[in-house]
Subunit: 308 residues, 2 copies
């Protein structure tokens, strides 16, 4: 029997990678032969976490059906965010904290989604429910995911459950949550070795709303202007992506992780919805989004509603 | 603020009704103002359980949006099995044990599905996870749902978790599981006061497979022939339903609860798939299904696969 593959979403972020590793660990402890994989390159923030807790990157697998009959999805459920050939395998479990959409199975499955800030907050519950101890290095990864998804607890997606889970994991991992967290976020906001192609693709997700398709890319930055100074070149690349994927809208969000604001560049045939949707002026394809840091809670539902 | 409505599927069975009542009880204990409702008439089996543990029927509500902004779905997630206007309200939670399909939200939610035999097996876990005690009468309802969905533990959908949950609930409810269970199933298999319209609609569910739509109705019987002797009249009614709903296939399953076999009447443009799908001859629109008792595990996946 082949392994069960455990995978996060395309353009993996720290939660997707760390959830895959930690949930695969739990399933192996429970008797399943499970292997964490990744669908794309890991980002600088995730690399920092993997190095800090001495993990190798999971193996890169873009097509899962050649290798496995069954998979477990973590940190996503929408098929366009998953492996290209996800429809050819059986999804036996999902552990996620996003909306449910574009997901369908033939058979009953284990589907555990909760409206918390991070997938590893749910995975910590699953360790407990199954009576499995979280080892130090796994706890470090799980903590990293919570810090990343919650921007060190400042995102509106962060719940009291995430804060409690992070505290518990920091104790097990034996790290100072604030110091480690700031170092982790800074590693992620270091854009110095990134191409413009990287910026619009590394943490980018595609969505559907009715017949419309849109994509939202997000980068964290210490200095937002450092990114925006290259707006014209970014727009060219965004235009190419819109044509290639047939998107109705592409939103590129640069988030200031120290001040918790964002600026977005918006392009596409349906970019006209942005002004009224966010009640903020679009000038030169650019819009200020004060207090907005969460794609999931503050951006995607607003666009979905406006396009629907 | 209006109540949160807790609802099972259309043509409610014992699990749908008992899950709605017991989960609404749990949510109220946890501080939410939740009310169980039903989308249709309760069947004889459910009535037996409600009377045994001294519950009134939940209120009949066919359109939820007039009454509530938020709902919780139990024992289903597919929108065509839910309230007619389900798309007009926010689904904040799902507790279910079926496949996931035709379900989509704008926002993250609490979605708990597990591949066990009965929704109340999952609800018992949720009582424990939230530190709430199951009262005697609620335990009786939850036990009734497990006995009903598992045909007294004989269905292939029944898992060891369901058996364990039933034992625990029987202790709390202070009933003999086997005696009470057989009485419950017999009450459900008493078809003497049923019209033919009742038989094809009381426990009937609609499904989609690709572009195809099919419906599977099921009745439990002590004497299968008592139902099948009226096949011609049943076929007329099934034909009407096919026309009215634009179905590609209608399967009416009569399950012998003492011997754990079924016989099905199959009609519709796509009825031709049944022979190869179930490897059994269709004679006079009738097919024998030895050992088949579970619509969810032994019928719907087979048809979905064959139509897809």
């Amino acid at each position: 029997m082949s392994n069960v593959l455990v995978l996060g979403h395309k353009n993996p972020d720290t939660d997707s990678i760390c959830s895959a590793i930690s949930y695969a660990y739990l399933k192996n402890e429970m008797g399943m032969v499970a292997e964490p994989i990744r669908l794309g390159e890991v980002n600088n923030e995730t690399l920092f976490a993997l190095e800090a807790f001495k993990f190798d990157q999971p193996r890169l697998v873009t097509h899962v059906a050649k290798e496995a009959g069954q998979v477990i999805l973590v940190d996503h459920n929408e098929r366009q965010q998953s492996a290209e050939d996800i429809n050819e395998v059986q999804v036996i479990e999902v552990v996620d904290h996003h909306r449910v959409a574009n997901f369908e199975t033939t058979d009953p499955l284990f589907f555990r989604a909760e409206p918390v800030g991070c997938t590893t907050t749910i995975i910590l519950k699953l360790f407990k429910e199954n009576g499995v101890e979280v080892p130090l290095n796994i706890a470090g990864l799980m903590l990293s995911a919570i810090i990343s998804d919650s921007l060190l607890f400042k995102s509106p997606t962060c719940t009291p459950q995430d804060v409690e889970a992070a505290k518990e994991l920091a104790r097990i991992a034996n790290v100072d949550m604030q110091n480690y967290g700031l170092d982790l976020l800074k590693a992620g906001a270091d854009l110095s070795n990134k191409t413009l192609e990287d910026l619009i693709s590394l943490d980018s997700k595609e969505f559907e709303a009715g017949d419309r398709r849109f994509e939202v890319a997000q980068v964290n930055a210490i200095d937002v202007e450092e990114v925006l100074v290259r707006q014209k070149e970014l727009e060219l690349l965004m235009g190419n992506t819109i044509s290639a994927k047939g998107l109705d809208l592409f939103v590129f969000v640069v988030t200031d992780i120290l001040n918790n604001n964002s600026v977005a560049i918006v392009l596409g045939e349906r970019a006209g919805i942005i002004e009224s949707a966010f009640k903020s002026s679009v000038v030169d394809n650019r819009v200020l989004l004060p207090g907005v840091v969460s794609r999931k809670k503050q951006i995607v539902p607003v666009i979905t509603e406006a396009l629907g």
